[in-house]
């Protein structure tokens, strides 16, 4: 395999047409698999991309994309100079980082522990139940949370009765709690769902490895740590890289239902801001400009995360 790959590198570096066609012929079946995907991407992803130009124009939906006047970086500057800009950047990155630090490893840990359940009926039941909240929309879940977190809600009741709090706190009315509420409720909703992919990866681990480890007298944690985890590290690495690139994304539906004027200082994030300033008031160019800014950052983050991960673990996306 390795030899083949170096050989092909040579082909690309010194294109000898005869050799090129020979390799093409050799790889013709692979190309038959790949080319339809490439064509699909060209049609469905690349053709519509001309839409990005309106980030540099003043587009009004009545005229066409090409007729709209050029304005250069006006919309980008509008965004960067807005009083809200530092606040929304801080909130977006803050919430995303919390979600990355806590929300990313937890499904992995959950999958590892679930995998240690011996009784397969119980295991399956847990798995099925754990992914149920994923199907409830944020409108419903948010409504439940607002009631629970209110001053007279059950969480306050619980904490006051246990003596943790002296008097009830309106959790959603205090900016300092918002990031945590967003993170925890996100984990609550997505834990089971996000663990599915790891369970799939775990199911591919060679059973023989476990057997020999048991013979060597390795305990549960030891087996989790030195067999299961390394076996799924490729999947973890890829999902981690992709998660890092989403640092400027936030869970729009979630934040929309949980935010209010009292927690605005910590709940205003890019996606909500753009929704209010761009989409609600039909400023397409502005919304596109902010979207483009986010995309560029995301691509840079992806490449960075990919590079770091490859250096550290030898695993990477490509």
């Amino acid at each position: 395999m390795r030899m083949q790959s170096t050989a092909s590198n040579n082909v690309i570096i010194s294109p000898n047409s005869k050799q090129f066609f020979r390799r093409l012929k050799e790889q013709k079946y692979l190309y038959m698999m790949v080319i339809p995907g490439v064509i699909w991407m060209i049609i469905f992803n690349y053709i519509p991309m001309y839409g990005i130009i309106i980030a540099f124009k003043d587009y009004n939906i009545i005229s066409s994309f090409f007729e709209a006047p050029w304005v250069g970086f006006k919309h980008f500057l509008d965004f960067f100079r807005d009083d809200w800009f530092p606040i929304i950047m801080k909130n977006t990155v803050g919430i995303s980082l919390l979600k990355l630090i806590f929300g990313f490893p937890l499904p992995i840990i959950f999958a590892l522990f679930l995998n240690e359940i011996q009784n397969s009926t119980f295991k399956r039941t847990v798995q099925t139940i754990s992914y149920l909240p994923h199907f409830l929309s944020w409108v419903v879940l948010g409504g439940i949370l607002i009631t629970w977190l209110s001053e007279s809600g059950m969480i306050n009741e619980l904490l006051v009765n246990m003596g943790i709090l002296d008097k009830p706190v309106a959790f959603l009315g205090e900016p300092k709690y918002f990031w945590w509420i967003a993170t925890i409720s996100d984990i609550w909703k997505g834990l089971g769902w996000n663990s599915i992919i790891y369970l799939a990866a775990i199911s591919g681990v060679d059973v023989e490895l476990y057997e020999s480890a048991i013979v060597d007298g390795a305990g549960r944690f030891r087996r989790m740590w030195s067999i299961t985890l390394p076996s799924i590290s490729g999947t973890i690495a890829i999902l981690f890289i992709l998660a890092v690139s989403g640092l400027l994304n936030s869970n729009f539906d979630q934040i929309l239902v949980l935010r209010n004027p009292l927690n605005a200082p910590s709940s205003e994030v890019i996606d909500i801001f753009v929704y209010r300033m761009g989409i609600q008031s039909a400023r397409f160019s502005y919304a596109t400009a902010v979207g483009l800014f986010k995309s560029v950052i995301a691509l840079m983050l992806l490449l960075l995360a990919n590079w770091v991960t490859r250096k550290l673990t030898g695993k990477s996306l490509f």
Binding site: I62, P261, S281, A282
Partner: protein, 565 residues
Amino acid sequence: MGKGYLRLVAYLLAILLSALLFVGCTSDKKENDSEEQVSSENGNNVEQEQASGDSEKSENSEETVEPGWKKDTSPVTFDWYVHFSWYNYNWGETLISKYVQEKTGVSINFIVPAGNENEKLNTMIASNTLPDFVTLGWWEDGVRKMIDGGLVYSLNELADKYDPYFYEVASPQVLKWYEQDDGKTYGYPNFAVAPEDYEKYEKIPSNQTFVVRKDMYEALGKPDMRTPEGFLAALKAAKEKFPEVNGQPLIPIGLHEFTDTGNYSLESYLANFLAIPREKDGKLYDFREDPEYIRWLKTFRKANEMGLLSPDIFIDKRAQMEEKIAQGRYFAMLYQRTDFVAAQQALYERDPNSIYIAVDGPANSNLDPPKLAGPGISGWTLTMITKNCKHPDRAIRFVSYWLSEEGQRDMYLGRQGETWDIIDGKEQYLPKYAEMAQNNREQFDKIVGQDPLWMLGNSLIQMRWAPEPGPAVRQLEEWTYGKAVSYAIYDNLIPPSDSEEGIIHSKIADLWGQTLPKLLLAKSDEEFDQIYQDFLKKRAEAGYEKLLAWQMQKLEENKKKLGIK
């Protein structure tokens, strides 16, 4: 290579074939559809010619104009976009729609967005794929875009060409109000009430009310809540006397939901209760600058200091509020009476004494009666016929039909003998349906289907058929009679959102949305003043003068249209 490969190729072929078949089937269907359309269009052209011939005749003879819709009642289907994601109507399944379809031949396929409504409308505008009809709020940006983009027919053009009867049934004031610079009118509103109508009709209601819980209010000895002192004292007394409702803390005062742009209850709503004029010295006057208004905002601030504003009022969304109203958790509310009917009904069913009643609320220093917002000449939604409409002749005739008294009756009552009749000398629903309308609106809407057909409703005509309001809500409505005022000329003062003034407007609205909660939560009146001054400063920086100039100019146009000097 070998057997496996062959089998694979066979699989691939099979998939390809089935995909082709599939595409083939769907496109077949499409072709059939378009054939039908073509044939019906052909049929229509013939009729069209006849129709135009007819109208010529009638013009020549100068007789009374015949309703155009009677000329052609062959089946036709309109795609009708309604710009409200909560809208739901099954045309052809309700008694009223069946009757109207039978009578006029028109069947409607309602297209309703879900999620973000503007996404759907903007996509249709940008790609020029609007359906036959569009109905949206008159304040929406889409109205201007569709007119400027030349995507909709002017009603004048269609009426002149196909249905002069339109002018018989359309209100001239309304047409004048919606007239564009080119002298044409592109959409027709529902529930429009011209300022003159306020003199003709006694019972013009407003939606704006200040309500209190009846039993508590009476137990407190019906305190006068018109002055800041009385207001705060009453809230305090209520909180002391009724600390809990069903084991949950009482919320002394309820407001509408806080949004990004502020709070409806504490803006024009409060200003109307204080009877603050919209104009002063010939200039537009922002209620935010009025000392009476500031006095009351400070009263609310004081209420917060006294612990009378619950954090819930900043946090709750409509769903939580509705729940709390149904539980009777608020003592008083500055709240739209039409927005809590179901909750009021639930309260009434449990205890008729625990409902909310409208009482005199915050007033200015002279204790002047409030000047609440009544229905305006802009109405509620605007309906337009787009240039994509395949049968503009039938469309305008259908509009005229709906606007006519006959159409209003059909759309409101349905077929005589089936859903309504003359009972006690009055045209009204049969007792069976009247009862259903009172007690089970959901079923009533499903079977009779009156309420959701409001696209071209006229409240002044429909008034005579409306069933008496139920005991739970009657007092709320009656309280507003005589207090409603037309603010029609101040409608339409919001600039297009992507214009320079529009961006200023939305920035100021956003600024106010941030400022208002801070004002209420301020620790002292001094802090309040500071935040308020800061708001004025930032507002000026954002370009308020420019916005005001734009609005003044628009106001002049509005006055001209309504014939007010």
